[in-house]
């Protein structure tokens, strides 16, 4: 081992300090690592007292409230996504069912806030810019909720750092990055979900840090307390917004790493011990949060008993549980020879036909059958009427005449007395799909091509076909194509109506239709009364878990479907550098605008800190690979385990966005930004001093007392902190007109605020002339 020279002998790598290892440390480093707490700088001694800490946190919190509540009543108009979340709050108050991709917890809180402040739910938050004062909406009360939660995030950040063993100044530094951040402030002053999300996410981190600190006192009531607190806060985070699932993933990753350590044969004496740990976490971090998460939905369903805008998203069975639902009121069984109108579920056009024929030759040179046109038409019309013709013998009367799942039927176009037909001829617009046309009823030569199988969605054998609620696909008997339509319009020769064609994909989801209305029965009379007088229908009951399952699935599908482009959407790579913000709201007259953008000083500090952190870890890895030991063990322990956890928080809340195809906005980075603020504190500590508060975990009574060391960053800590706060605050004030939306700015002022050329601010003074296109 000649090559190692005077370098310290490599210590065994262990995930966590243990006695074995501490003994080595004591022998080798007692003098230079562990010191007397009284030898610290006087400033440090003062700041580390509890009193000083209380004062600092009180000041920070007071400032946070002041900055978030400043002019919270401005603007008195609907801003950005308040359109959605304000509306949802009003639905809770009215009890009308709605559908949204996010879980309900945060929206329930808004509903509660609205209810407390006396909102009666009449205002619908239709458009950005609608006035609150004119409509008498107590919007300040509703905005106060996120403002309070956003303000409380600041002391929580402070507490996380304090609990992780950093000195008061460092903890205040991390808190200040959040405190003075324009993005966090803008996001917390409006009726948006993110403040709730961030608050509970930071609480989750806090609880998990507390839980980890108790790891030598496993299975005590305190330990369980923080374990369950982690689970509860985690459930609240997840319940606030879909993105909260990333917090769940963070805790999952941390727990897996933790359990992996416990599994080590050097750490735990028996598998029973491991399974005990495993079971405790399974209950505290899976079972309990899931129950809470479920309970949010239970409350959600309980509060929304009546029919509303969300009906059409749900399955017929679900819709029938909502009072006043149209489907519930007017769904009727369909019988043969009924005349019905048929509508496409997604595009809402009627199945339509008229005497005009397909042109023999299309523009691209393909040939049609020149049959009668079958199109999708958006308006009520006599030509939308189709009669259902049986292909089997029917009993004279009774329930045998009801049309059922998987029946073979013909559809007769009443006005032209022709039956629906499809055949292997390319449709007008799509060469891959089959043309739909009709054929004279009395000409039976093509009878087999006019047979269609009725396939009801999620139906059991023999289920009756109902109007409104009976979603179905119409599958051609011979060629097995499904009747389908898409939003493309046919040319002038078909009056720009929608094309209807046969889709060859047997499981195409968008080929779903329903019967809008039964126009007449066999005798030509209105069929409404044929089943006799109907008692008023009562909403049906549905198992909560089935409701929950259906809603979860829909939320996932719709979340993935949010791929439409948005002018202010931005890629994840832009976020940490604040390349682009979001325009929330503008007002022309005094040229006011709210533009979501972070504090440039704070965000770029975080980016620098992140890169330094990664650099330190990389250097440490390389050095240790070569048997060098550059970092004292307590410091490395902190860097890898505590700061490493923050880094996992950051990465797990950030990396998944790179894989998502949905539209992404800079406010999706706020959670990661909070984590990066924690890392920034840790890195500042590392740069300022080699000392550290160590150990910080609570020791078990049976353990030998550790020798301790204490952090001492002396005078330079407070100085740097004050300078940094001044810089942060200046930048904050500079950007404040964009954050608060007041005062109005002249064009040149706007140009001045545009610190990065990629910010698309409104009302910028134009350099080029405005010309009519």
């Amino acid at each position: 081992m000649a090559g190692t020279g005077k370098l310290r002998q490599r210590a065994p790598v262990s995930a966590r300090a243990n006695f074995e290892y501490d003994r080595i440390q004591e022998e080798e480093h007692t003098d230079d690592v562990y010191q007397n707490p009284n030898n610290r700088h006087p400033i440090e001694k003062i700041l580390e007292t509890d009193k000083a800490s209380v004062v600092v946190v009180a000041v920070l919190t007071a400032l946070a409230f002041a900055l978030r509540f400043y002019k919270i009543n401005h603007p008195d108009q609907v801003v950005f996504d308040e359109v959605h979340f304000g509306k949802f709050a009003s639905y809770y108050i009215l009890g009308e069912y709605y559908f949204d991709v996010h879980p309900p917890f945060a929206k329930l809180l808004f509903g509660l806030a609205g209810w407390f402040s006396g909102f009666d739910g009449h205002f619908q938050f239709e458009n950005i810019g609608d006035s609150y004062t004119q409509n008498h909406v107590p919007y300040v009360g509703m905005r106060a909720l996120p403002a309070i939660l956003g303000s409380l995030t600041v002391p929580v950040v402070y507490a996380i750092m304090k609990q992780s063993g950093y000195s008061t100044v460092i903890a205040a530094f991390s808190a200040a990055i959040i405190l003075f951040d324009n993005a966090h402030i803008a996001q917390s002053r409006l009726i948006l979900l993110d403040a709730t999300l961030i608050f509970f996410m930071s609480l989750t981190i806090y609880a998990y840090v507390r839980f980890q600190k108790l790891r030598y006192r496993e299975f005590t009531s305190e330990w369980f307390g923080w374990l369950f607190a982690t689970g509860i806060f985690m459930a609240c985070t997840w319940g606030s917004k879909v993105n909260g699932v990333l917090t769940v993933a963070t805790v999952g990753v941390a727990v897996l790493i933790d359990l992996w350590g416990i599994l080590d044969y050097k750490k735990s004496p028996s598998m029973d011990y491991f399974w005990k740990h495993f079971a405790a976490r399974a209950i505290g971090l899976i079972v309990v949060p899931f129950i809470i998460y479920l309970s949010f939905f239970w409350v959600h369903f309980a509060l929304l008993p009546t029919s509303g805008t969300g009906d059409s998203f749900m399955s017929p069975a679900f819709q029938e549980t909502l009072a006043g639902n149209e489907m519930l009121l007017s769904a009727q069984e369909i019988r043969y020879y009924d005349t019905v109108t048929i509508r496409h579920k997604d595009t809402k056009v009627y199945l339509h036909s008229h005497v005009e024929r397909y042109p023999l030759k299309y523009d691209d040179g393909r040939i049609s059958s020149q049959g009668q046109q079958v199109t999708g038409y958006g308006h009520a019309d006599e030509n939308n009427n189709w009669q259902i013709i049986p292909t089997k013998a029917l009993p004279e009367t009774g329930r045998g005449r009801i049309v059922r799942h998987n029946d073979m039927i013909q559809l007769l176009h009443v006005n032209t007395d022709t039956v629906l037909l499809t055949h292997d001829v390319a449709s007008p617009l799509m060469p891959t799909n089959q043309e739909f046309t009709t054929w004279p009823r009395d000409d039976t030569s093509r009878f087999n091509e006019t047979l269609f199988q009725l396939s009801l969605t999620d139906a059991h054998d023999g289920e009756a076909w109902k109007s409104k609620s009976g979603y179905f696909r119409l599958i051609h008997g011979q060629t097995r194509v499904s009747m389908w339509t898409h939003t493309k319009q046919l040319p002038e020769w078909a009056f720009r109506q929608q094309e209807i064609n046969g889709n060859k994909n047997p499981s195409e989801k968008t080929a779903t239709w329903f019967v809008e209305d039964i126009v007449a029965d066999e005798t030509g009379e209105d069929p409404k009364e044929r089943t006799g007088h109907q008692p008023p229908k009562v909403p049906k009951k549905m198992n909560f878990f089935r409701k929950f399952g259906e809603l979860q699935l829909l939320m996932l599908q719709h979340n993935a479907g949010l791929t439409a482009s948005h002018p202010y959407a931005s890629g994840p790579l832009n976020w940490p550098f604040l390349i682009a913000g979001i325009s929330f709201w503008t007002e022309n007259d005094p040229q006011k605008q709210i533009y979501l953008i972070g504090n440039l000083v704070g965000w770029w500090t975080c980016v620098v800190a992140l890169s330094i952190y990664v650099g330190i870890l990389g250097a440490d890895l390389l050095a240790r690979r070569r048997n060098n030991d550059p970092i004292p063990e307590p410091v490395r322990n902190r860097l890898w385990n505590s700061t490493g956890f923050f880094f996992v928080v950051w990465a797990v809340h950030y990396a998944p966005f790179f894989l998502m195809n949905r539209q992404l906005f800079i406010h999706h980075y706020l959670a990661s930004h909070l984590a990066s603020a924690l890392i920034a504190g840790a890195v500042l500590q590392f740069i300022l001093s080699e000392t550290i508060n160590y150990p910080i975990s609570v020791e078990a009574p049976t353990m030998r007392r550790h020798k301790r060391q204490y952090v001492d960053i002396g005078l330079k800590g407070p100085i740097i902190f004050v300078l940094f706060c001044i810089a942060m605050f200046s930048m904050f004030v500079f950007l404040a007109p964009l954050t608060y939306g007041t005062p109005g700015l002249t064009g040149d002022q706007v140009n001045g605020k545009r610190l990065l050329s990629s910010w698309t601010l409104h009302f910028a003074a134009k350099k080029t002339a405005e010309v009519v296109p």
Partner: protein, 868 residues
């Protein structure tokens, strides 16, 4: 100290060390002849926790001393044999070469059998055959794939006497003068080569003979690989070179104990060359390159931690990899392009993808006969000078968004929609169209040559619309203004005005120095030349520049490149996409200029072509409006949910159906899943119990007893039940097979482009390796507890049938140890299943004759559209 003088890993307990030995100390060691009597799986199980006595425990186990590197997976070093003295010895020494030889012959049979049956252009032969014709006619064409594979197709054509005259229309019959059978045979030879490569790779990976037989048989009998190798396609070459890369890598891995030896260098360099070749056939080769890259990084990371290596040795290791695995492959890749350019020196259908200068140097190109100097009234095509840039284009279709005016795009093919007139601005005297001047002959006018800062209109010839811009965001790049075709010969406004800015000339340098702003006449040296002058077009009103990026328009714009008006900060460098040159130039009033132009440098052409390839590859995204019956999704592949009809399905046609051998595909995918579980299980076991066979020494004292958490006593350490060698072998093959599979599969899930089932064929190889590896791990490499005499019998001899002594063979078989008999059973069942399904499905690759209904029982899964 151990005999080798190396530091011994501390967790090697003495008796274990003696039992296994290192390859150096026991050179005849071979894995399937493991003498360790204690079967590994019997240890570590059985005894319940805690019952075991307290054992000596070493704390340093986690620290993997780098000197352990000598224990790694792969084929153990073989002792060099003495030269044979008798014929018997010679035969005996060469026995191991017989199975691969037999398999190669069988592969020749399966690959060549009835190869010319279908005398029509099958599937993508339409493309690759056509490219071969282009090579033979030496016409420049453009395609998204790198050129090596297609050049080899061309070579096959050349060797078989094809003259390049056939246009390979899909489904057309081959005329008698096209030697398609010979071409197919030559390309199928690559398919034949896959089989011995499979065998040797298995051997080099350290698999047992049993497993090597399985790998070879699976490669031989998969109908997917068979089918794709039998046509004029690139896939057989891609597969061959992929196999070759894995083989070279395994070979190189086995040279690890003798770095910088001749063999070590050979196989490292071979790996690099092979990477270059596979990537030059299809870009999919990058996936196997990534496998080599990750393997190398891990290897270097180990080396980095090896404190016995001097810095000089470290540097040598790094340098060798950089040279052989980065520089060599790039050189190979570039060399294929160099040859490509050298062969294709005539003008052809792919011209417009390349820069104007490149085109001007192709034979048959008439650019150099165009008039030289551009004037008002010239009809031109305008080429973007950025790498991969196309020609300015417009067509009657309109934007569905924004202004709804006529689309303006960048297009990569020659077409009359690329033609534009330079006309003067609306405020200037218009020599042709302006009714004020009445009808007159424009030839009466003096020729007005264009120069720097002239204001012009760009008029689209077929539609007479003016290129126009306004303050409407462009359809894709929202930050830029939209550019559209607006008005006609008489309708228009100042928004049609473009200021010509001359940046310089490729040949003549800065021509603007000849400009004299005050003088009325223009110095002829400041005029704009076709092909060479670099121009920009600034919108007179908005100040933005006519630009083309690399963003494609959606389907409504036919995936052509978006053209927009890019705002530019004052004083910044001109963006590449905003620089144009005049390509074709027609002007009857100007004389043709016969001139010779210098060649564009190879490197420029190389980058240009590669960027063009990338751009059009990215445009191959599935069209949501169109249903492509041939395309399939990646998750449909591993369990063979879909197949692909390679040709028409008429009763009279010979029909080929691209699918796999279900047993091989399903088996491979299932074994990947099992391997994932086994790996996780083993890693967890190692974490829980430590590596190795465990310790049997009692603890000398209980000093360490309190060092666990809670001060509880430490658990005894049964280990994971594997020897170091077994663990290393398992891990080595698992990472090559599993890692290779993931690297070849995940990218298809992520990337947006349209995918087909044949994209899975390279991936399948890793599934096959994993299949054999798992059987090896669970069955074939489990030591048979038997006397030494039985292990001398080569395992393969059991299956040889000696007709004269059948009873004796049965007797011998019965007397074999139980484990050996299990191996025979497992092997026989697997091989019969593979061969059985191959025979069952052979027609899909050899060609289905007659009505498909007559071939019964092929549709094993609902989605296989063999019958309907």
């Amino acid at each position: 100290m151990n005999p080798g003088g190396r530091a011994v890993a501390v967790d090697f307990v003495e008796d274990e060390f003696e039992e296994i030995g290192y390859p150096e100390t026991l050179p005849t060691y071979s894995p399937h002849m493991d003498e360790s009597a204690a079967a590994r799986r019997r240890l570590g199980k059985g005894k319940p926790e805690g019952v075991e006595e307290k054992v000596w425990y070493d704390d340093e186990d986690d620290y993997k001393a780098p000197s352990l590197r000598s224990i790694s997976g792969g084929r153990p070093a073989q002792p060099a044999l003495p030269p044979p003295t008798t014929l018997h010895e010679f035969i005996f020494q060469n026995m191991p070469s017989i199975p691969p030889l037999v398999y190669t012959l069988l592969a020749c049979y399966t690959r060549f059998h009835r190869i010319g049956l279908s005398a029509t252009v099958v599937w993508d032969e339409a493309h690759f055959g056509k490219f071969a014709s282009h090579y033979l006619k030496r016409e420049f064409y453009f395609d998204v794939h790198p050129p090596l594979g297609k050049m080899l197709v061309g070579l096959a054509g050349l060797l078989s006497g094809y003259n390049g005259g056939f246009d390979f229309k899909s489904g057309a019959d081959y005329p008698p003068e096209v030697p398609y059978v010979a071409m197919r045979v030559m390309l199928a030879t690559f398919g034949v080569g896959m089989v011995p490569l499979g065998w040797f790779t298995a051997i080099e990976l350290g698999m047992s003979q049993w497993a090597a037989h399985l790998v070879a048989l699976m490669v031989l009998f998969d109908v997917g690989w068979l089918c794709i190798s039998r046509f004029i396609l690139l896939d057989s070459m891609l597969l061959f070179f992929t196999f070759l890369t894995v083989f070279c890598l395994s070979k190189f891995h086995n040279q690890q104990s003798h770095p910088f030896d001749f063999d070590w260098w050979t196989w490292l360099a071979m790996t690099g060359i092979s990477i270059g070749l596979v990537t030059s056939v299809k870009m999919v080769g990058l996936f196997v390159t990534a496998l080599v890259g990750i393997y190398t990084l891990q290897d270097l990371w180990d080396k980095f931690g090896d404190l016995h290596l001097t810095p000089k040795e470290q540097a040598k290791h790094w340098g060798a990899r950089v040279l052989c695995l980065i520089i060599v492959p790039i050189l190979v890749f570039m060399a294929t392009f160099k040859i490509h350019f050298m062969i294709l020196n005539h003008s052809g259908p792919g011209d417009a993808q390349m820069s104007s200068l490149f085109q001007a140097n192709l034979y048959g190109n008439d650019f150099h006969n165009n008039p030289l100097e551009i004037a008002i009234g010239s009809k031109v095509t305008i080429k973007n000078m950025a790498f991969g840039g196309g020609l300015l284009h417009s067509h009657v279709q309109t934007y569905p968004t924004g202004s709804n005016q006529q689309q303006v795009t960048c297009y990569h093919y020659k077409d009359e929609n690329n033609e534009f007139w330079f006309w003067p601005g609306w405020d200037q005297k218009d020599t042709v169209w302006d009714p004020k001047y009445g009808p007159h002959d424009p030839n009466d006018e003096e020729v007005r040559f264009l120069k720097h800062l002239d204001v012009v209109r760009l008029v689209h010839v077929p539609t007479t619309r003016n290129i126009h811009s306004h303050t409407i965001p462009a359809p894709v790049t929202k930050a830029n203004w939209e550019i559209s075709g607006y008005g006609n010969a008489t309708i228009g406004d100042v928004q049609d005005h473009w200021v010509v800015e001359v940046l310089g000339d490729v040949v003549r340098g800065d021509v603007n120095r000849y400009l004299e702003p005050k003088s009325a006449t223009v110095d002829p040296r400041a005029r704009i030349h076709a092909l060479t002058t670099r121009l920009r077009f600034r919108h007179q009103v908005l100040g933005c520049y006519l630009s083309a990026g690399r963003t494609s328009l959606p389907q409504w714009g036919f995936k052509q490149i978006e053209v927009s008006c890019a705002k530019e900060e004052a004083g910044s460098k001109p963006a590449e996409g905003s620089i144009w040159n005049v390509e074709s130039h027609w002007n009857t009033r100007l004389p043709p200029a016969a001139r010779s132009l210098s060649r564009s440098p190879f490197l420029t052409d190389f980058i240009h072509l590669n960027i063009a390839m990338m751009t059009s590859n990215n445009a191959l995204v599935p069209d949501p409006d169109k249903e492509d019956l041939l395309a399939s999704k990646p998750w449909e592949w591993p369990f063979l949910s879909v197949g692909l009809r390679m040709c028409g399905w008429g009763d009279a046609q010979i029909k080929y159906y691209l699918m796999g051998n279900p047993i091989i595909w399903w088996g491979g995918s299932i074994s990947l899943i099992i391997a994932a579980f086994v790996s996780v299980g083993l890693v967890v076991r190692r974490q829980r119990y430590g590596g190795g066979r465990g310790t049997r020494k009692p603890a000398p004292n209980s000093l360490n007893g309190d060092s666990g958490r809670n001060g509880a006593a430490l658990a005894p350490r049964p280990g994971d039940g594997l020897t170091q060698r077994e663990w290393a072998q398992f891990w080595h093959v698992t990472r090559i097979a599993g890692g290779g599979w993931i690297l070849h599969y995940l990218p298809f899930l992520i990337m947006g482009r349209v995918t087909y089932i044949h994209h899975y064929l390279p991936t399948l190889y890793f599934a096959v390796l994993m299949f054999a590896h798992l059987l090896d791990y669970f069955v074939f490499q489990v030591p048979s507890t038997a006397s030494a005499s039985l292990q001398v019998v080569p395992t393969s001899s059991v299956s040889l049938s000696d007709l004269n002594s059948i009873p004796k063979i049965i007797r011998t078989f019965r007397s074999l140890p139980r484990m050996t008999r299990i191996k025979v059973y497992v092997f026989t069942i697997t091989v019969s299943a593979i061969f059985g399904t191959f025979w069952w499905f052979r027609a899909v690759a050899w060609g289905i004759e007659g009505p498909v209904r007559d071939t019964w029982g092929l549709a094993w899964r609902e989605n296989w559209n063999i019958y309907h």
